[in-house]
């Protein structure tokens, strides 16, 4: 992929894959209001994913449609982060992931609103409003669960503990890893950073961790310690969860080659 395609696929695949994970909650949420809210967030992310993936397809040569990219790529060709791929877990784990992802997205899209790439800037402007609601929703739940009952406190902490090793990948994808098949993935975006298309992702890490820490501590929870962190998603080295997710997502489309829907 060219750097610009790579960037838009990273953003778009994150949104698409997380939307898919959130859909798994529909008709299974703890209260009906959450069926509505989670479906709503999933719809927003699916919309963002479609815009970004369509844009990526439009600048590929030959151009590809959103459905070609969503349904006919193999897992190795996806550019999602491990954070969005792992299973949904219980409601606390889902909210822990959502808090991390929405905080990351809110900081990122605020920067991308000023992108020198007009399409990306426009998508980011639209998405920023949606993300504000997602972040608020997740924050409220982390507070309620963290400072609710003993059981919810324990589950909320466990949820944070599960997702925490996946945070760093969002910011310095492959730092410290020898990559045999090309440059490190954080290097790949260098020309785009220089051209003002996207920010340096690494620079978003500190404000993100600060914001997360504030919420976590208000919720009477502890910021987890972790001795490993995920890496590889941005160069197509994924969790095995992604392959199962795609097997399901692509199953009908692939079973009828060449059909339109």
């Amino acid at each position: 992929y060219s750097p610009l395609v790579d960037l838009t696929l990273r953003l778009g695949d994150d949104a698409l894959v997380l939307s898919q994970r959130l859909m798994e909650w529909v008709a299974s949420a703890p209260v009906l209001e959450e069926d509505v809210a989670i479906a709503n967030i999933a719809l927003d992310l699916l919309g963002q994913g479609r815009m970004l993936i369509s844009y990526a397809g439009s600048i590929m040569s030959p151009p590809k449609s959103e459905d070609e990219l969503a349904y006919l790529r193999q897992a190795r060709e996806f550019r999602s982060s491990h954070l969005v791929e792992i299973p949904r877990g219980d409601f606390a784990q889902t909210m822990a992931r959502q808090l991390v992802f929405s905080t990351y997205q809110s900081l990122l899209y605020a920067e991308l609103t000023h992108s020198t790439d007009a399409t990306i800037a426009a998508i980011a402007a639209k998405a920023s409003k949606e993300v504000r609601y997602h972040l608020d929703h997740a924050t409220q739940w982390v507070l309620r669960l963290g400072d609710g009952t003993d059981e919810s406190h324990e589950r909320m902490q466990a949820g944070l503990d599960v997702v925490w090793p996946y945070v760093d990948e969002l910011f310095d994808a492959d730092s410290g890893v020898e990559v045999y098949d090309g440059p490190q993935t954080d290097e790949k975006l260098r020309p785009l950073i220089d051209a003002g298309v996207c920010p340096d992702f690494g620079a978003l890490r500190e404000p993100c961790i600060d914001q997360l820490t504030a919420v976590i501590e208000t919720a009477t929870l502890t910021v987890p310690q972790t001795k490993w962190h995920a890496r590889g998603g941005r160069r197509g080295v994924h969790t095995s969860d992604l392959d199962f997710l795609l097997a399901e997502m692509q199953s009908v489309h692939r079973a009828y080659p060449g059909a339109t829907w």
């Binding site: 008709a27 719809l43 059909a259």
Partner: protein, 321 residues
Amino acid sequence: MTVTSHRPTAGDQQSDFDATIAADGRIEPRDWMPDRYRATLIRQIAQHAHSEIIGMQPEGNWLTRAPSLERKSILLAKVQDEAGHGLYLYAAAETLGMSRDEMLDLLHSGGQKYSSIFNYPTLTWADNGAIGWLVDGAAIVNQVPLCRASYGPYARAMIRICKEESFHQRQGFSILLALARGTDEQKAMAQDAVNRWWWPSLMMFGPPDGESPNSADSMAWGIKRFSNDELRQRFVDMTVPQAEILGITLPDPELRWDEESGHYAFGALDWSEFKRVLRGDGPNNAERVRRRKAAHDDGAWVREAATAYAAKQAARMEQSA
């Protein structure tokens, strides 16, 4: 504002109620109403609410597998609407004095019902088309008259719901249209789905007029406006021309235009299977309720946490005030 000069007696209340009904007026939550009117409404609105939330399952099952991102997006919006409809309807039923929790408990224990149509499985992607086109189509025919139901909160909920249902029916038709114009395999998939959903859709209107004992009361109270058979006929008349546009055959060899009556004539319904499914021996009854109850039970700790947190926050407010 009317100030009544004397304490109303039961007789006065009944005659006020009767007069409102006779004048096609609206009964509101604080108005007096006969116990059986209240009980009938609770049963009907709760059943309708339950149907919306159980109805999320057969289509929700296909969200992760929708074959294009656009279809996925539309189906997700639809399923989200169903959850929203459930919310409106539970709120309407709560104005009659039964809480949502009580209704959910009755749903889980089998004390209240949901539409039997959702006990059939969704076997292929085309089933999402057939459900939208036929099941939502039948629901609209049933529901449009309910926008004039005598109980205010119910009528107002139905007005909001009916607006969205017509989008649901169109998206179902649109799924089938794409399949009907597609490959031979897609056409066969669409035809197969319609074969399986056609008769159950007709049964959604309930038993034939002669065997529908509660209908008379509901008619007299202005809850129901048309008989089961009238509504069923209206649905058939509306649907047959649409099937022709789709190029899909409805699975009834006796279906034909009857010049004399100005309606489509159709074959006899097999009520024995309907009753079997209604009795609980349907392909998905056990699974639908099991899944609903699992969601509720698994979510208990979340609801408890929300309550505990709200109480803590209230206490903090009070302390700082």
